[in-house]
Symmetry: C2
Subunit: 302 residues, 2 copies
């Protein structure tokens, strides 16, 4: 690995960007405004954490990177649709995301809802259009369907919705976030695995990476909550301090800032521990990118 | 076929109802309110036209009915989610559907949006959980993804949205409806085919049934537009006369009532013509149910 982490990240971000530009329906095709809204929501935004995870894991297993592009984009489409709907007036009512207007602020509520709706089947199409074998495709489709279901992402959002202004215990909060953001992050790890050559995947590796996936999922949300308190809108690219303003339970509101930082550290250590187990199988230093991703999530400021 | 059409319909409606009750996430599972909203939207509503089509086609091909239950329900989940979102204030703003409160009127906008969102992955899961072979599953998943995409249902809704208050030509209207409602009806025909034993499907049969699917798709919408003018809310189970009130282009507004009825008759005849071609392959009287479904769509009063 001669590339620095930031070079590697840039390379993978460019790939997923290119895939989005190529695979998302063109604005030349009717209905143009819908396709414009879909592209606006996916292209040019965000850190692409989920795709980066898919790439990093798949690279452990010699996957065909063209297939990985599609799978990474599929997950990013699910993530993007959830942000579009989450930002809408009936949900979080946010007008700023990744430093630009949210989709409904730019295209109107109805078109934003449709853009989100249309990104879901797009994701499943991208997976079925890979050259992976039918079994791999079906596992990936099930993974993604489950992660975005009412037992996953949508379920977490529903709990979130019901909990505004209510007291939540730490374990309830962990559960909510494990659904709302954790499952899609965890699925990104598993999806990377399934993009790889199946014959080389053993159960211990799957378990180790699954543990890594759970830890970074949790870590991601704790850091998000900390940043909502400690960062400003300009750095964050979205409205800061909203959680407290809306009386939403967060790690910081339940544990305080210091204990939240401790919990984050704990999850970070757990993630690295899981990677050590993985390295015992795939070889020393092979999980460097995954370690760097954990570092990045742990130390990000936006 | 000793069963009358209405007995057959009742039997199949009961099956899809039972499948929905069994397969949709239980209200005992958290988040209960989301699962309640999902079940409210799918269970106990509608004529189940799409599932009926899936069953009728699959019966031509000796499909395993337990697989057909899942595929039929999958398509009904996509249809139901589209109704939930379509009824929302930012879209059609309807409070009445199938004679009961729309999902957002009962559960609030945010929960309704999530219920719709969560029904999409549910559909893809049901297909992947059948015992069909991997190739059949993947074809069905692609069919459904394409039909509900921005080149299908969502695309039709986007065009609809942009056309309120604007003049539309007949061919533009046909194109809009072929996306908005036609593709999912057509997919129901194709899905029924793919549920069957693949080795017995020949190309001519596929073509004939595809033609049938296109015709009943068009027929369905023309009748819908006619009913909006000629029926009352009580019979219709939803707000009547809304299209004209909202200045939406319809077959009736473009062609007038008489010419719309003629066009409907034309599509009905086309559908029956396609079934004649199909019978030349599968045998005389084998497509009776499909003919009865065309009759039903043609002559329905709600």
């Amino acid at each position: 690995m001669n590339e620095s982490f930031s070079q590697w990240v840039k390379g993978r971000q460019d790939r997923v960007e290119k895939a989005a530009e190529t695979l998302l329906p063109s604005v030349q095709i009717e209905p143009k405004i819908l396709h414009e809204a879909m592209r606006y929501s996916v292209i040019g935004g965000g850190k692409r954490v989920r795709p980066l995870i898919v790439y990093a894991v798949s690279e452990l297993l010699d996957a065909d990177i063209k297939n990985v592009d599609r799978v990474a984009l599929a997950i990013e489409c699910i993530h993007s649709y959830s942000l579009i709907h989450d930002d809408m007036p009936c949900m979080d009512n946010d007008r700023l995301r990744h430093g630009k207007l949210t989709t409904h602020a730019k295209f109107g509520e109805a078109m934003a809802m449709l853009a989100g709706d249309a990104l879901q089947p797009e994701a499943f199409s991208y997976i079925s259009e890979t050259t992976l074998n039918p079994h791999q495709k079906l596992v990936l489709i099930s993974l993604l369907a489950e992660a975005s279901s009412s037992r996953g992402m949508c379920g977490g959002q529903a709990i979130d919705l019901c909990m505004v202004g209510k007291k939540m215990t730490l374990s309830e909060l962990v559960h909510m976030h494990s659904l709302k953001t954790g499952m899609l992050l965890h699925s990104s790890v598993m999806a990377g695995l399934w993009c790889g050559k199946k014959e080389s995947v053993n159960e211990d590796l799957t378990d180790a990476l699954s543990e890594y996936g759970h830890s970074i999922g949790l870590l991601f949300q704790i850091i998000d909550d900390i940043l909502d308190v400690t960062s400003d809108a300009k750095t964050l690219g979205k409205t800061a301090g909203k959680d407290a303003l809306e009386d939403k339970p967060t790690y910081v509101s339940i544990l305080g800032l210091e204990k939240s930082r401790e919990l984050a550290r704990e999850q970070y250590d757990k993630a690295l521990g899981a990677l050590e187990k993985a390295e015992a199988i795939v070889g020393e230093n092979k999980t460097q990118r995954l370690r760097e991703i954990a570092d990045f999530i742990f130390s990000r400021d936006h």
